[in-house]
Amino acid sequence: MSLLKIRGLSVTFDTLQGPFKAIEDIDLDVEELDTLAIVGESGCGKSVLGHATMRLLDDIAVVRGSVIYRGREVYAMSRKELLEMRGKAISLVPQSPSASFNPVIRIGKQITELIEKAGVAHGMEAEQRALTYLEYVGFSDPHAIFGSYPHRMSGGMCERALIAMSTSTEPDLIIADEPTKGLDALSRKNILDMLHRMTAESSLIMITHDLKAAAMCKRIAVMYSGEIIEIGPTRVVLEHPVHHYTRGLIDAQPSRGMRPIPGRHTICSHKSEGCRFRDRCDRVRTECGRHTLLREIEEGHMVRCHYA
């Protein structure tokens, strides 16, 4: 039984301009100790997918489809079960490190709070645990961090504290949302190493726009316009990309020659039927106007393209 099974997940936001489908018909499986990178450019819906998995959006958006965690339907859980699941079973490493901590509560308190809520430890023991995890993520003086406030720390330090917090309950699945965003080259590597070390015991979904960061995961899923267009083992996807978007994305890397993908990326383009990338694809044909499904072209490698 897989740890997480997502079937036909769609999220629709109601905006002034009408309903806006952020993600549509996503199928995804995550096994125990699996690490999956979800890659895509801004607006492709990767963060929405991460949040919808934890059922964090159902009061502001219409969510359809199912998310099954260890055989239980997340969207059928009671409020209490849901609260128990969050943080304990599935933990989120949020996006913007400096905005993720409550500015008027000490870091340590915010970590202990989660540990106690998850029922992992209580009182002094919980504090001890928080200190331990702070030490794990590389703080030489965890006590100082424990008693500190978020605004006294840099983005990188906050990110580390966030990782400490999210892993301190030893969750089964960690969803890391853009963990390297806004960090400079030096600390980015640091954080990624840290994240992988800390999640050695659990599964990881890493949401990122950075292919380099994604390369550290076992599998990669590439998203475009709210759909997964290619998913497979990292090496396969990066070295033999099938979908032209994936290929374009890789070629656009500065180290790969910075070849731009032609056309414009507009988030409203996916209203139409058919392949969403066809406007920018250089081998577009008439078939591309038809809707296409994610097809498995080899073991674990699936692509959403008529020509795969």
């Binding site: 450019e41 801004s42 400079d184 080259a185 030096l186 980015r188 590597k189 640091n190 726009h209 292919l211 374009g248 994305l249 656009a252 890397q253 500065p254 180290s255 020659g257 910075m258 070849r259 731009p260 993908i261 414009r264 990326h265 507009t266």
Partner: protein
């Protein structure tokens, strides 16, 4: 040639107190026409300040700035204005790069007014420039919040290129953009530097981009240039341990 000699910038952090912070410390460099000069360093090392000093958006605390062999350091703003067309700057954040209450067209027109372009030439000039930077003409009457970051940066380049500047300071122009968009913009800039012989000071913390873009690279740390050389030399044979560490982490 744009030349900075021993330029420093010291900030007084508070009006009443005497705390000082040296942001740029005796930096000298030359930027030739048609050359892309990279400036790398960690966040907070003073590279953005140096960029602003180069276009005289800030007055240096010490040192001299020569623009085409003329010392413009102490030129008052009013007199420096005529030189502004020769040297321009592009900033990092697309969301604040343009006045949110102006359409892209309004912002671009600001440059045209400044140039004194006759009104009849607006259309042709706009078409030429937009074509150059790949800006779709159907979006110029939109507001910045209605278009993507890449398109904003294109609009910014449109109005900067209207001046036909000889030198361009690029302060992390693509760090907020997606790779595919980034590739577009960077290719465009590279082409511009080569074809129009525009000198560019390319500020970035992304070493890969710098390596792909620049002819020469300067490495900055705590307000000082600690290493300078051709891109190949810097990336293949770093001489300082700091740079070594920096490259290893990429």
């Amino acid at each position: 040639m744009l030349e900075l000699t021993d330029v420093s910038k010291i900030f007084q952090t508070s009006f009443l107190r005497r705390d000082r912070k040296v942001a740029v410390d005796c930096v000298s460099f030359r930027l030739k026409e048609g050359e892309i000069l990279g400036l790398v360093g960690e966040s907070g090392c003073g590279k953005s300040t140096l960029g602003r000093l180069a276009v005289k958006l800030m007055q240096p605390s010490g040192g001299h700035i020569f623009l085409d062999e003329k010392d413009v350091t102490d030129l008052p703003e009013r007199q420096f204005r005529e030189y502004r067309q020769r040297i321009q700057i592009v900033f990092q954040h697309p969301e604040s790069a343009l006045n949110p209450h102006f359409t892209l067209m309004d912002s671009i027109l600001e440059a045209f007014y400044r140039l004194g372009t006759p009104k009849s030439d607006y259309q042709t000039m706009l078409e030429r420039l937009a074509n150059e930077v790949n800006l779709p003409l159907d979006i110029v009457d939109r507001y910045p919040n209605q278009v993507s970051g890449g398109e904003i940066q294109r609009a910014v380049l449109t109005r900067v290129f209207a001046f036909k500047p000889r030198y361009l300071v690029l302060d992390e122009p693509t760090s907020m953009l997606d790779v595919s968009v980034q590739a577009h913009i960077l290719q465009l800039l590279k082409k511009k530097a080569r074809e129009d012989r525009m000198g560019m000071l390319f500020i970035s913390h992304d070493l890969e981009v710098v390596r792909a873009m620049c002819d020469r690279v300067m490495v900055m740390k705590e307000g000082r240039i600690i290493e300078e050389g051709t891109a190949d030399k810097i990336f293949t044979d770093p001489s300082t341990p700091y740079l070594h560490k920096l490259i290893a982490n990429v």
